[in-house]
Symmetry: C2
């Protein structure tokens, strides 16, 4: 008879065989990742006592998820986001000291190379929406200003869409790059962002619906803040009035990132130039850690 020593009968033996199959992987880090993936994936199957029908349903779900991806839609990132994996990876890589601004997900709507704008400029082209003045200061963790820090911002419009999703908006609407002054200060005009659902007409939306979860994210403004000699931070500020702060579909909210949008009334306060309605101010001060 042939080899009688093949030990792949129990789930534990199969796990060891699959882990061992990567022993000769020439790249050490790839080997480590795949061996850990196999252990955790098998542990999941054993822990859940996954049936063959459930396994096949999973195969079909992953297949539909891959096939829903296009040049402008990344359904696997949505899946990672809605399972909390994206935020877990963010937390693993960007655990910050208590005094630095915390990070959160980049999201799928970032477009690099936003136009440079001057402090005080408006990033919104359309006239509707609630006027907002965002003002802040970029500092180090000892509260010293970081002159020339770059603040790259983007947000959605009143129709819930980002310009990159919406042919009816000019491509540069509601995004821009600002440079902090010598005192670390930056400020710009915009409109108030609104709550919006993540794309939910695909497999991830089906999953959320089937488990009784909504697809909404609380209103927020995205920021990437960077300066030479500091760790850049990718983050949001969240509108404290949103009803979804406790149930963000992608688990992106951190308490330290929630900001009050302060209401101002033109009947009692001098309005900024061009503003004829109640407007809001929001503080968006940001602290960076030294690089490395």
């Amino acid at each position: 008879m042939g080899n009688q020593q093949v030990k792949t009968t129990t789930p534990e033996e199969i796990t060891e065989a699959a882990v061992g199959s990567f022993d000769s992987c020439p790249d050490e880090r790839t080997r480590e990742i795949l061996q850990k993936l196999v252990r955790h994936l098998h542990a999941f199957a054993v822990d859940a006592r996954l049936t063959e029908e459930e396994w096949m349903a999973g195969i079909q779900f992953l297949t539909r998820t891959g096939q829903a991806c296009t040049d402008t839609r990344q359904e696997f990132i949505l899946l990672s986001d809605t399972l909390g994996l994206s935020m877990a990876v963010d937390a693993i890589n960007h655990g910050k000291g208590a005094d630095a601004t915390e990070s959160t997900v980049l999201g799928p709507f970032y477009v690099p190379d936003s136009p440079w704008r001057a402090n005080g400029d408006a990033i919104n082209i359309e006239a509707d929406g609630e006027p907002v003045i965002v003002q802040g200061r970029v500092t180090n963790t000892a509260d010293h200003p970081i002159a020339g820090a770059v603040v790259d911002v983007w947000q959605n419009s009143t129709n819930e869409l980002y310009a990159v999703q919406d042919p009816s908006q000019p491509p540069d609407n509601l995004r821009g790059r600002f440079r902090a002054g010598d005192d670390g200060r930056f400020w710009f005009r915009t409109i108030r962002p609104v709550d919006y659902p993540i794309p939910h007409d695909g497999p991830v939306g089906e999953m959320l619906a089937s488990v009784g979860r909504h697809p909404w994210r609380p209103a927020h403004i995205h920021l990437i803040v960077s300066a030479p000699g500091y760790e850049p931070v990718t983050t949001h500020i969240f509108d404290a009035d949103s009803r979804y702060l406790d149930s963000d579909a992608v688990f992106g909210v951190k308490s330290s990132l929630i900001r009050e949008f302060q209401r101002h009334d033109p009947a009692t306060e001098p309005a900024p130039p061009g503003v004829d309605r109640p407007w809001y101010t929001v503080d968006c001060s940001l602290a960076l850690e030294p690089a490395g």
Copy 2:
């Protein structure tokens, strides 16, 4: 200020938030599976300290895997197979008593409704290949014959391909259903199966190449054996002479399923009708457990 109690800063807090998001899932089993999936998936990310670049490489790999799937190719099943997950699921669901025939993977080449054939028939249409007579007995675990048990078999040809993959073979080549006699016996003629690589021109093949694994499976004949009142078994018999018994790309080999193909020489033994070359016999006795 808004809700200051959102606790999604550390990986552990994010895991708890993501697990908790499924608390209201109306289907209890779906909830259990997804909550366990989230825990194990996050544990993998934390254990590997997955970087954002590695996470993105994983997203892109899964996307390519989904997009490689077609009506006739299931790349996610190949991925599951090559990570040992398919065999682990099999083991979880078909842990057998010591006396029953062990199961192994179904594989992607099964086609239902094979033609019924009479014991002694050939399943091979082509003339080349090494002639084989497969003979066996279907019994219960107390060695009593199961009259009328159905043995559904399929295998590859000398060009490494199954009929379903290969337009040059008739669709019913090298597959068939047999019914055991009153003594539990069945037998048929075929050709010796050959080692073959799993499809490796896609993302799974890239993965295997990058980690220094080959894509080969040891030569085998597939069987699904069933009878009223018994648990059906999906299994293979493996050729004891294969060089890949220790390194099956999909971890399907179990020692109990390895069989010696016994060589016979027409110069010293009367050959079966139509056989003019050395031929082989292989014993393929099978034992089923009671249902339930």
